[in-house]
């Protein structure tokens, strides 16, 4: 039986992303967003509009910046990080990591590959990338 030459296959976002995401509406208050994060023990919250399209993402750092303002009077749309980074399931993981490091974010929202789509498809967590890095090195050793 012949051996196939080993070729390098670039890993894609779909290998490590998690399907689905915790979302809140644009009109949710900052305190509600904080409660959603704490109860679900997550470090992000995706903000969507009435059509369930991604508007932005809120991290613990965004909530920290809102300290001192009226948490029950300020809306999610006022503190979110506008969603301008496009990542799809078929994007290379190296591209996703470069985006995370450049924009200093721990999570990336993954949207479907369909043109013009802004529906949430999943989330790529930094924790999962670190876990994959640790695992890859173990297999090499």
């Amino acid at each position: 039986m012949g051996h196939f030459p080993r070729c390098h296959v670039e890993e894609r976002v779909m290998r490590l992303m998690k399907r689905g995401a915790i979302t809140v509406g644009e009109e949710a208050t900052v305190r509600e967003v904080a409660q959603v994060m704490v109860v679900n023990r997550i470090g992000y919250c995706v903000v969507v509009n009435e059509k369930h399209e991604v508007v932005g993402i809120i991290s613990p750092r965004s909530i920290l910046r809102a300290f001192g303002v009226d948490l029950d009077g300020t809306k999610a749309k006022d503190i979110l990080l506008p969603y301008t980074i496009t990542i799809t399931p078929s994007s290379p993981l190296s591209e996703a990591v470069a985006l995370m490091v450049e924009k200093r974010v721990d999570h990336l929202v993954v949207i479907a590959d369909r043109p013009g789509s802004r529906a949430v498809y999943g989330i790529l967590h930094g924790e999962d990338l670190v876990r994959a890095m640790a695992r890859n090195q173990e297999t090499k050793a």
Binding site: Q35, M37, G43, P60, I63, V101, D106, A134, Q137
Partner: protein, 141 residues
């Protein structure tokens, strides 16, 4: 008045400056944490490594990089007795997601705990952990 010591995590996970990035990745993956302190043999803090600092090594050989090459030097000293508002303002100003807590009574530059942005979110949400879990529990009978 809420103080830093009321919200911080007691104890810090640390590595040594000449430990490899592989050790740091393993620590983060196993303990599900986002930052690791770097201390010398005497226990004095040199710096800290966040998840994003480690992600810069994605796709590279982790064994060939030492912790001191990717760490950020630690220059901010937070006392456990500080009011939480003062610490939050410092974190906002410096744009940092975690601070190491240095207790002057434990010795110079000895970290005794860590305070992350998620701890602040928990404080701001007014959710006591465990309360929601009890509310969500379905009665057995």
């Amino acid at each position: 008045m809420i103080r830093v010591c009321d919200l911080m995590h007691k104890g810090v996970l640390y590595c040594y400056p000449d430990d490899s990035a592989q050790v740091v990745a393993d620590m983060m993956a196993t303990n599900r944490i986002r930052s690791v302190a770097v201390v010398d043999e005497s226990g004095e803090v040199w710096g800290s490594i966040s998840m994003l600092d480690l992600l810069q090594l994605y796709g590279k050989e982790l064994d060939k990089t030492q912790a001191q090459e990717i760490m950020r030097p630690y220059r901010i000293e937070v006392d456990p007795q500080w009011p939480i508002e003062k610490t939050i303002e410092l974190m906002k100003k410096r744009r940092i997601e975690h601070v190491l807590i240095i207790d002057p009574h434990a010795g110079p530059k000895r970290p005794v705990g860590i305070l992350t942005d998620f701890d602040i979110v928990r404080y701001m949400s007014h959710v006591e952990l465990g309360v929601y879990e009890q509310m969500l529990k379905v009665p057995s009978d």
